[in-house]
């Protein structure tokens, strides 16, 4: 999963401090693996350098220096592109699928369309693996089967999620 694009997606909702972005990232996507502050600020600095976000002036307060970040049009375009592209269908994709669906719902982007594109990409990969099984040796077939069943698990999740988007949207935007 791309941390920079995920932070950029969270930033698209409203101008935010690094602290807010870290808090929201951890709540939605951290799942026991919170981002380090240093990683958040390093990422935001890179995004600002690359023209994807603009850093506001430093705000003095009791704690450490705080800056508010604002996403740019180029940053929004990156988020848009990322959310509309299916990820390469490989095992262990769950975090990226999850992040894209949650962000699409948060940003009121077409999550159903993303899921359809991802389903098509998964099915195409399953077709390739099924074709492979016709020719190759038993060990290759065994490996292909493993990949097919894992893709199938993703597809079940995709179908299940697609059927519940109306219910999920308000829950995600709570």
């Amino acid at each position: 999963m791309s941390v920079p694009l995920t932070l950029l997606g969270l930033l698209e909702r409203e101008p935010s401090h690094g602290y807010d972005l870290k808090r929201d990232y951890d709540a939605y996507f951290g799942r026991g693996k919170p981002l380090r502050y240093s990683q958040v600020y390093a990422t935001l600095t890179r995004l600002a350098r690359d023209g994807k976000a603009i850093a506001g002036r430093a705000e003095q307060g009791a704690g450490p220096e705080r800056r508010r970040y604002v996403i740019t049009d180029a940053g929004i375009a990156d988020v848009e592109r990322w959310l509309s592209e299916p990820a390469p269908p490989e095992p262990d994709l769950q975090s990226e699928l999850f992040a894209k669906v949650v962000l699409a719902l948060l940003l009121d982007r077409p999550a159903g369309r993303y899921l359809d594109l991802q389903r098509a990409a998964h099915l195409q990969r399953m077709r390739e693996l099924t074709e492979l099984k016709r020719h190759d040796d038993p060990l290759d077939v065994l490996l292909a089967d493993h990949a097919v069943y894992r893709l199938e698990a993703d597809l079940r999740w995709i179908d299940h999620t697609a059927a519940r988007l109306d219910l999920l949207a308000p829950a995600v935007r709570r």
Binding site: R113, A120, L123, M126, R127, T130, L151, L155, D159, A163
Partner: protein
């Protein structure tokens, strides 16, 4: 919709005189609408299948995918829209004419084989030929050939109660293919089978279809089964999703 009205007969005559279905599609549904009482099953479903193509029709339970297959196969007639087969309008044909088409040019495989329990496996396979008027001897000989092809040697005289689920489904597949149909309609053909038997049936189905150039319309809710097809479409709320290339 009644099939025996003068209007239907006129429609039939016109459709035969001016075939309008593009030749690259052997089967086509155009904006089908079909309801069962208050329940709307199809709401403008469109779909085209190329000759020799194996197409998977996917979708959740109740999405309308089986209704779509039944309309394409002339088992049901839509209230609105058109069904074309080989350049011929199918939905306006009479019941008798559609029955003939189903018998002579289509094959069917359903979820639970639906073999005739009183007949032997070989007689079950020969049934479409016998119904089409082939004499018993040649029909049984032709049926016999499929037992070797589908790994069913030695099971010819068994009745359906004496076959495993996978064997019964392979007999059903042989019955669906024995008359050399142009299109095989398969509705969840592996729905009642375990994964190993499912794989065997799908390998045999796709190999036989490709060898004989048979077009296959395969309804399934399982991605692993759909992966045997050349292409898939998704039926959702009675319409066919265009995101996965529904229009060939």
């Amino acid at each position: 919709m009644s099939d025996s009205t003068p209007a239907a007969a006129a429609g039939q005559a016109v459709s035969q005189a001016v075939p309008a279905s593009p030749p690259e599609k052997i089967v086509e549904a155009r904006r089908l609408v079909k309801s069962f009482g208050q329940t709307s099953a199809l709401r403008g479903a469109s779909l085209g299948v190329r000759p020799g193509e194996i197409l998977a029709v996917m979708g959740p339970s109740g999405s309308g995918k089986s209704t779509l297959l039944h309309c394409l196969a002339g088992i049901l007639t839509p209230e609105e829209g058109e069904v074309w087969f080989g350049g011929q309008r199918l939905d306006t044909l009479s019941d008798d004419r559609r029955s003939e088409l189903r018998r002579d040019r289509f094959g069917f495989v359903f979820q639970s084989g639906q073999l005739v329990p009183e007949l032997t496996a070989q007689e079950n396979v020969a049934l479409p030929l016998l119904l089409a008027g082939t004499r018993r001897g040649p029909a049984m000989t032709e049926a016999r050939k499929w037992f070797a092809t589908l790994g069913l040697d030695g099971l010819e005289q068994r009745r359906s109660g004496e076959l495993s689920g996978g064997q019964a489904q392979r007999v059903a597949l042989a019955r669906g293919l024995v008359a050399g149909p142009e299109v095989l309609f398969a509705d969840e053909p592996t729905g009642s089978l375990d994964s190993v038997s499912s794989e065997l049936v799908m390998n045999l189905l796709t190999a036989a279809a490709r060898e004989h150039g048979t077009t296959v319309v395969l309804v399934t809710h399982e991605a692993r089964i759909a992966a045997y097809a050349d292409r898939e479409v998704i039926v959702r709320d009675g319409t066919v999703s265009t995101l996965t290339g529904a229009q060939p």
